[in-house]
């Protein structure tokens, strides 16, 4: 019951917002924040209950599911309203609520139709949490598709630049992907012994065990559907456009939550329901992951637009998840413990990416709100007028490049260590990705924060650019001077030189108020996970172990 309240509270609030037009815009924005906060508080309560029970209970996926509700819905095909949480879904539900609260706080000053904006996001929250909590394929599919609809309107209605086109591209691409997913679901239904859409039953008694060809085709359909959403190479080209033109809060939700619907589908549906096919094709999954890792990293390196760059790093980070999940299917090559560690790492990566990329997108929103552009070459030296912004961006960037002390390290360390035994060559190739991401984030920091302060005037920026910020070539960092040749500028001279250089700085206001409250907690959470991962891992590890043994059947 509690879980259903958590799922539907936001959409009920959205309905209220639309039903009472007398409510002022400001009140609507605050109502959104309050509802998001209540939802988060309920989830924290659920977490506490789950964590105290999980020591005794079985680990999840097929049994030991908490807060379970099952109500008959379409009995002819055995589809039901079946929801529940376990170690795989709970962390994602929690991080979803955190991100939606951050988005709500971020959007407190939204000027453009704030009531509909709030209603739309609340609707999206229900769709997202519903997808993670769903234990029935049809229910999953319904929530999954509703999230696409919601995000379409967010981008088309509140985006900038070429928003209509990007929104349409996003919608059609991911919708077509979801159709492939639906075909896969029907295949699972037809292949199942009892003709059911129930995810728990399907995972407990996997369909199509005796027909490898059919199982392979069903897996292919499901993987294509999820790969579009995740996104994986070569299905990722909707992502940079959608991100670039989405509003900051929309980008944060898109990257932080909606991409996870794809990766979550792999762990919830593909792996436990088609273990045979997963093992047979695991190497392909690993290769798809590694290609995405490198492709995302290299293309991100070449971008000249901050937001596009971060969008491409998502492809890179999602690639690591697929590497870990694929490695978990290579049963012959690796032992149980290593595969479970790889899955744990992949799960932590989902949570970590949500926090870090969510905060990165919110922070790039600061750039757009101040200067109306994301182009690297229009900005410079922002550490001077905006030290807090610089610090937050620095922490988020270092987190995203996998620095220990933040959550991404916990994720990537486990993915690499868990995958090496199963797929040594692929893992070693994938590891190089963290150097490229390190390079691109440091170059980005350097371009934005150091050097002469440069702030574009939003009035002069073409607000509705006809083309997106396509890459125009790599702007490499200032070439390191020939070492040992030129004397470094003298220590004390530099400080005076800097004092003389009085560039206009009044135009860039530092991070403040709602911006601070929305972004800093995300980073603090990431640091807490990075320093003290046990509370999160205690929830994930049993489920990850259960999953890797289910996938290893």
């Amino acid at each position: 019951m509690l879980l259903s309240v958590v799922i539907f509270l936001p959409v009920v609030a959205a309905g209220m917002l639309l039903a009472f037009p007398a409510l002022s815009n400001r009140a609507a924005s605050w109502l959104w924040v309050i509802v998001a906060a209540i939802d988060l508080a309920l989830i924290v309560g659920m977490w506490a209950g789950f964590a105290s029970n999980s020591a005794a209970a079985p680990s999840g996926i097929v049994d030991g599911i908490a807060y379970e509700v099952k109500i008959r819905w379409i009995p002819t095909v055995d589809a039901s309203y079946h929801v529940g949480v376990d170690g795989l879904s709970l962390p994602l539900i929690a991080v979803t609520a955190v991100l939606f609260l951050a988005a709500a706080i971020w959007s407190l000053r939204e000027q453009k139709r704030p009531r509909s904006y709030a209603a739309l996001f609340l609707f999206l929250q229900t769709a997202s949490i519903g997808t993670f909590a769903a234990l029935d394929l049809i229910l999953f599919f319904v929530f999954f598709d509703l999230s696409i609809v919601g995000m379409y309107f967010v981008i088309a209605g509140w985006g900038h630049g070429n928003r209509r086109r990007s929104a349409l591209k996003f919608f059609i691409y991911t919708f077509v992907g979801s159709l492939a997913l639906l075909v896969g679901f029907i295949g699972l239904f037809l292949g199942s012994e009892n003709r059911t859409f129930d995810m728990v039953a399907l995972a407990a008694n996997p369909p199509l065990i005796d027909s490898p060809l059919a199982a392979g085709l069903v897996l292919l359909a499901i993987c294509i559907g999820l790969a579009v959403k995740t996104p994986l190479f070569p299905f990722h080209t909707w992502l940079p456009d959608a991100h670039t033109d989405a509003p900051a809060a929309g980008s944060a939700i898109l990257a932080g939550v909606l991409l996870k619907l794809g990766t979550y589908g792999f762990v919830r549906i593909a792996m436990p329901m088609l273990p045979d096919a997963w093992q047979r094709w695991a190497m392909i999954i690993v290769i798809a992951g590694v290609v995405s890792v490198l492709w995302g990293a290299f293309t991100a390196l070449a971008q000249t637009d901050v937001k596009r760059m971060i969008a491409y790093t998502s492809v890179n980070h999602m690639g690591y998840i697929l590497l870990g999940l694929g490695a978990a299917g290579l049963v012959a090559q690796a032992d149980e413990q290593a595969r479970a560690i790889a899955v744990t790492g992949a799960m932590v990566q989902m949570v970590s990416h949500a926090l870090l990329t969510g905060s990165l997108f919110l922070l790039t929103g600061v750039l757009f709100s101040r200067g109306g552009t994301y182009a690297f070459d229009r900005w410079g030296g922002l550490a001077r007028p905006a030290p807090i912004f610089a610090a937050a961006l620095g922490v988020a960037a270092f987190g995203s490049l996998g620095l220990p002390g933040l959550s991404a390290f916990i994720a990537e360390f486990q993915i690499f260590t868990g995958s090496l035994q199963a797929a040594p060559v692929a893992t070693v190739i994938a590891v190089t990705g963290i150097v490229i991401t390190a390079g691109l984030f440091l170059v980005a920091l350097q371009r934005l924060l150091s050097g002469k302060t440069q702030v574009p005037n939003p009035a002069e920026e073409p607000a509705n650019r006809a083309t997106n910020g396509r890459h125009a070539g790599v702007v490499s960092p200032a070439e390191p001077t020939e070492t040992g040749q030129q004397p470094a500028r003298r220590d004390r001279n530099v400080t005076t030189a800097v004092d003389d250089d009085t560039v206009s700085q009044a135009t860039f206001k530092d991070l403040h108020g709602r911006e601070l409250v929305a972004t800093v907690p995300l980073l603090v959470l990431s640091i807490m996970i990075g320093l003290f991962p046990r509370p999160l891992l205690d929830v994930i590890e049993p489920a990850a172990a259960a999953l890797s043994s289910l996938a290893g059947r």
Partner: protein, 610 residues
Amino acid sequence: MTAVQAALLVMVALPAAAGAVLTLTRTHRVAAPIAVATAGLTTALAFASALARPAVSYPFVAGADFALQVDALAALTVPMIAAVTLLVLVFAARSIRQSRSRFHGLMLIFSAAALTTATAASLPALLFAWEVMGATSYALIGFWWRDSARVSAGLTAFLTTRTADLGLYVAAGAALAGGAGMGLADLPAAADPWRHVATAGIVVAALGKAAQLPFSFWLSAAMKGPSPVSALLHSAAMVAMGAYLLLRVEPLLASTGWAGPATAWIGVLTAVLMGVVALGQRELKQLLAASTIAQLGFVVLAAGVGTVSGGATHLVAHAFVKALLFLTAGAWLSALGTEKIAELRGAARPWPIVGVTATVAALALAGIAPLSLWATKDAVLTAALESSGWLYAAGLAAAALSAAYAGKILWVVWRRGPRTKVRANDAGRISAVEQAPLVVLGVGAAVLGVLALPPLSGVLADALGGHAAISVAGLTVSAGIAALVLLLMLRLRAPEPRWALRWLGLEAAAHAVVVRPCLALARALARFDDHVLDRAVMALAAAVPVLARAAAGADDDGLDRGVEAVAGRVRRLGQVARVPQTGAVHQYFLQTVAVFTAGGVIWSVYAVMG
């Protein structure tokens, strides 16, 4: 948790926490006192844990604890790191005048990371501290971030060392796969071939951090950071930690058979080549940077030939020598406004304490008896001789080179004659607070050699593993060579070939071989992404309307026309059917007769044929 375990935890957590607070707040007035007090407390705790040898561990990720332990090797190194941090921070309290809070905060975080690295007993703990150390070094080298070139230098340092760090990630995976667990001490028990993979990974990571060949160039760029940063990071802690890691995993190196000789040769080759590079430098800090790498080459050599005690004593003594020299370079740089060696003529004279301590350090660096590095270096060389004569010979050549580059500085700073003007303003003063740490470091640089001489050498060799024996002949030979070369440098001009001045062209090579191809690949892939992949998707999407128009056309011109054609036929048939219906009865009779006649004919034909 016992009190000593708590001491160990506080030793790493206190500077980390204080550093984080200082970095994130702006408390410029109290930053330096807080930092010095924290470092002082940390130093006390470091000595306490060195005596008590505690170990702590807490669960971190599955199958790998976060384990810290002060064993004999750490007991020797940890107090050194803490003490040098304290002394450098005392010096920096006055010499850093901008963004004090950020500077001291980052230095404290760095020292916490270095202390964790030194005490790490498991791979996750090591990797954790190792990478944080790299990231803080990025922030410290690029401390003056308004100057983009300095930030680039930090970037070069971080990216180069992180590339090498990939080895540690691989090593961690190999440790898990090898089934021996993530403890550093357990690695030799890992199953083959994973043991070899782990060894290779650790060696690469260590060589990268220690700036050994071929990674050396990053340390040259790193000299763009403030001098106190170089004094801590590039003498006692970060670079030294690379060599330290090799000492720590010496049993693993020895267990593989190939790793020992390989590291020994890389170490000695680095010592020789970087000695030449150091001799060829024209700037003091560049010379010191190259010499640091060369001296750490001896430590790497020590790890390769299995004398942990020799390597560790050399590491500790060198930290004092080099920290002192970097601080001196910083003091001269700010007082005289130059770091060109030629322009430092007579620099030792206006400030006698600075001059004398620097001289002690330079003589120690040269290997003059009875100063510290003379004895410690020889402890390493003695062990090298046992495994190979060639290693020993190369080591001796490297020792001679150290005497040469030490002489290059020493004679200039004492030479009389016209000299660079001392700056008139406040910058031209070197205060007592700045001079006091130099004296302490100078004492260390002079006397720490006792660690490598009997009776202490025996105690250390028992505790750490290594060679207790000291050959008097070897000591005499190296002392003689050092003195001879040092005197020769009075007369000779140091060769400054272009390739040495440019650090063997290593950075240019890295740019040509790695950086530029990567950037080109990135551009190519991005172009492919935009122009091929995205276009293909859009073309596919664009094909839909085309198909739709075709379908609509087929609908209009095919199906619909067909239906209408059928309708037309039917209409025509209807018209034809209307023709006989005239309304005249006689015509209907006629038609009936015709039909019956035809029917009768057909029936009779059928009957006849039938």
